[in-house]
């Protein structure tokens, strides 16, 4: 191997073409997981491979798997960082269930992921990460899993990445530490060879990123090529694969993560509404990236306020809403719990406010870095008093953009707080997105109240949507007081009168129900208008259900998939729609929350499929339930 990096690249590429013609296997999709220590650069490796796949026209979906602990000791299970990529020449809906290829930079990375590799899959190991120390840190003791039969069911490709990286950079003048940091490029180069991908995108990336550090730039480029060349010259036969472009709708795409999509959706709504955007929040996993993203776009008249706590986060947003800004707060379960009293205030004040809940495993601190859908009932019912708040949920990373935009539209149109639910899975997951043109986004109209000469201003007089006027300070003649105490119809004055209270409670509920007239009806995503089995989803289970239903239909099973984005109120036709199917299956990453609402409202014997492991459903899990129900 020592001489391999001395062979001119063009010669290798010629040879590659030759080998390719003989050995290449065409496949339609593959799931790769890059796993290593937090310091091994696995996120970057995964992102580079992803961007290359995107440029080559593959459909794809990704999911990063961050270590559960910050600065976990090197080499331990807690410190394993992963990045999963599912790409193909076919449509891809999820980051995938079991990986076809695992890259394990050390023993801990193997241990953490061994259960998630497909039987017969490939494991690429860096044997340097399996020395006695690494084995011990990973909890293997003195047993090497590469030698005791643990990996017999897989195709194992062993390479000493560290040694070969050092060899490639011998004489580069760089220190060992800097040299070792380039290890991930070796793996990336090898995978590019394995999947017959062009390295152009990554070469360009390295050139730009290390523009000012030529020695580091050259080192990374050299190691990247060395990895590729290693594939070429490796003596053991390894198959290479070719994955063509996917038949996806023509257009211009970008990669989009859920949290980023929420942030951009909020900015787009503020811009279209002609309002400043105010985001009052407190850092919390996994919602903080929304704050990070928004704080980078201050030239869009975006004000981000990192408050002293969760309560101040939402309350500052309420103040901003009173002042006429598009006001938003975001958090995850524990933070949402703290915000609930203020949500009640916003609903009494009838001010527009968007609350984003990036759900994570609960209760209490629960599983901060893991995903769950267990805050649905909290969102719909979790406040004191009769306190209806519209609740909507995003289905995929890029759908977060549209649902964030929609949350803003509803909040402004109906003068109400709106809860947007996403979760850790789609918040951190990414997918290609055919982004819209700003001009094509729906209008959001803001009509601040104006003083009408000779007319007494009534802050709680309602329009056809039952929405009250947005009368902001600074408007002459509209001085008025609002508060959390029950108010008299129209005047908004304090009222403890019995009949008025009942009237106002019903009024606030009617207003939220009225939204059903202004949202799309439900229709099948996949399948038919009538049938034997309907799989009904909400939130981030979208991808897994869609894959499962498509597979089931290919097997001839009569099954339809519909997805709920509007949870309170439900789409107007939902009750009728559900009656068109003999059975309704509702998969949820909780103990059965949407199903309670569906059974309660429509009195149907829906069937639950629940998973509360902090992990998303695999398509297989849903498919097997569909199959068992269809027998």
């Amino acid at each position: 191997m020592a001489e391999s990096h001395e062979i001119p690249i063009f010669a290798l590429q010629l040879r590659a073409l030759f080998i390719m013609a003989q050995q290449q296997e065409v496949i339609d999709n593959v799931i790769i997981k890059f796993a290593g220590d937090s310091g091994d650069g696995m996120q970057l490796t995964g992102t580079q491979f992803t961007n290359t796949a995107a440029m080559l026209g593959n459909d794809l979906s990704t999911f990063p798997d961050f270590p559960a602990e910050i600065r976990a000791p090197q080499g331990t299970l807690a410190g394993v960082s992963g990045f999963q990529l599912h790409f193909g020449s076919v449509e891809i809906f999820t980051p995938g269930d079991f990986c076809d290829v695992l890259v394990a930079m050390n023993a801990a990375a193997l241990k953490a992921n061994l259960r998630n590799i497909r039987k017969g899959g490939t494991i690429i190991v860096n044997i340097d990460g399996f020395d006695a120390k690494n084995l011990r840190l990973a909890g293997y003791g003195d047993v090497n899993p590469l030698e005791n039969g643990s990996v017999d069911n897989f195709n194992v490709v062993k390479m000493d990445v560290t040694k070969m990286t050092r060899a490639a950079l011998d004489g580069s003048g760089l220190g060992v530490k800097e040299i070792d940091r380039a290890k991930n490029m070796f793996v990336l180069g090898y995978l590019y060879w394995m999947y017959n991908r062009s390295m152009d995108h990554t070469i360009k990336f390295i050139q730009e990123k290390f523009d000012k550090k030529p020695d580091i730039r050259d080192a990374n480029l050299k190691v990247l090529s060395a990895g590729y060349n290693f594939g070429e010259t490796r003596e053991e036969a390894t198959s290479r694969f070719s994955i063509g472009p996917a038949k996806i709708a023509p257009g211009t795409y970008r990669n989009m993560m859920g949290n980023q999509a929420v942030a951009i959706g909020l900015i787009a709504a503020a811009q279209k509404a002609g309002l400043q955007l105010f985001y009052g929040t407190y850092p919390i996993t996994p919602a903080s990236d929304i704050l990070h993203e928004l704080s980078r776009h201050k030239n869009f008249n975006v004000k981000t306020f990192q408050a002293e706590d969760e309560i101040a986060g939402i309350c500052s947003a309420i103040g901003a809403a009173f002042g006429g800004a598009l006001a938003v707060t975001g958090s995850s379960g524990p933070g949402i719990a703290l915000k609930t009293e203020a949500m009640g205030l916003a609903l009494m004040l009838e001010l527009p406010l968007v609350i984003v809940n990036v759900q994570r495993g609960g209760p209490s601190t629960g599983l901060p870095t893991k995903t769950e859908q267990s805050d649905l009932l909290q969102a719909v019912y979790g406040r004191n008093g009769e306190s209806p708040i519209p609740v909507i949920a995003a289905a995929t990373p890029s759908d977060c953009f549209y649902m964030a935009y929609e949350a803003c539209r509803l909040a402004i149109d109906f003068m109400t707080p709106v809860m947007l639910l996403t979760d850790g899975y789609i918040a951190n997951g990414a997918e290609p997105w055919m982004f819209p043109k700003a001009a094509d986004l729906p209008e959001i109209k803001v009509n601040f109240a104006k003083y009408v000469e000779g007319e007494k201003f009534l802050p709680y007089k309602r329009n056809e949507k039952l929405s009250r006027p947005w009368a902001i300070p600074g408007t002459k003649g509209l001085e008025h007081r609002i508060g959390g105490i029950e108010k008299q119809h129209e005047t908004g004055n304090i009222s403890y009168e019995a009949a008025n209270h009942e009237f106002m409670v019903a009024m606030r509920e009617d207003k939220v129900e009225k939204i059903a007239d202004y949202i799309p009806e439900i229709k099948p995503e996949v399948g038919t208008d009538k049938g034997k089995l309907l799989v009904l989803g909400w939130g981030s289970t979208y991808g897994a259900i869609k894959s499962a239903v498509l597979q089931a239909r290919e097997k001839g099973i009569d099954v339809t998939f519909a997805h709920i984005r509007y949870i309170r109120p439900f789409p107007k036709n939902l009750g009728e729609f559900l009656k068109n199917y003999d059975q309704v299956l509702i998969p949820e990453m909780n103990r059965g929350q949407l199903i309670k609402m569906i059974r309660d409202k429509y009195l149907i014997p829906a069937i639950a499929l629940n998973k509360v492991q902090g992990l998303p459903f695999s398509a297989e899990e849903i498919l097997s339930r569909i199959e068992s129900l269809s027998k």
Partner: protein, 344 residues
Amino acid sequence: MENTTAEKFTAKELVTDQEVRWCPGCGDYSILKQAQTVIPELGIARENIVFISGIGCSSRFPYYMETFGMHSIHGRATAIASGLKATRPELSIWLVTGDGDGLSIGGNHTIHLLRRNFNLNVLLFNNEIYGLTKGQYSPTSEEGKVTKSTPMGSVDHPFNPIALCLGADATFVARSMDRDPKHLQAILKRANDHKGASFVEIYQNCNVFNDGAFEVFTEKSSKKKETLFMESGKPLVFGDNNELGIKLDGFTPVVVNLTEGASENDLWIHDDRDRVKAGILARFFDNPRAMSEHHLPRPFGVFYVEDRPVYEEKMIAQLESMTAKRGAGDLDALLRGRETWTIS
């Protein structure tokens, strides 16, 4: 905030059509009256004035002011005002809170509001009791206080609100009282004139649940002996005929008698820009009824003022600097992002 072209309005026009619901004799009436007297003189357009409160007796205040107002939830007026000021810096915002609302349930927001230094006014009505919930001790009640919730006396050590606010790096810290209309009016004006978060503690008598808490400071018979009205640039004197003064012995304040040989030249000259001395004045906080040997009068007036950039302007400066660097946001460019690819 000052707006000389603002349409004039009278104190009467600040009165709303809502019936004032405080107990007869409550100190809140006087505070309302002084606010309604002072505000028309500030030259601020009425539509630009916003009163925000939390929960408690004091927090009904906005309902009685014919301006924009919000009666929010317990302890959170400070946080609400922060968001309003951040988005609408031109508004004149007045926060009305109490010892329970602002120092107990909302204590956290109060200190953070002060350190951030939003340009607004915080009026903390301190009656050393929970009035609205009918008489439990508050975080400013003295130790040993017997109330409904503390039949054997409270074991809580109380807050010293002025010291707390100085500790939070407030840029304007003052104390006044409901029973001294002139002083209160003057302090409200100064609070408004200060650019930054102005904190005014107002001793307010709750005649129902804590009557006479501040009697020694407000009653004619004791007021002159027990209060120290601070004016910057002037010596600290008090007593029936201003015959008593405060001298600094190192860092220790001592009371001297000018009729017994002490010289006016030795007296402490109040400087409301002196943070260290403000800290000493804040500690003039002993129980006037305990009659200790080191007894000091209770200071009223402005303890400390500091000019420090206000939060909302720093926030806006960042928006402007990013806009200057990158141009006003282009939504299509944002949607497109850095890296795209085209499928044909």
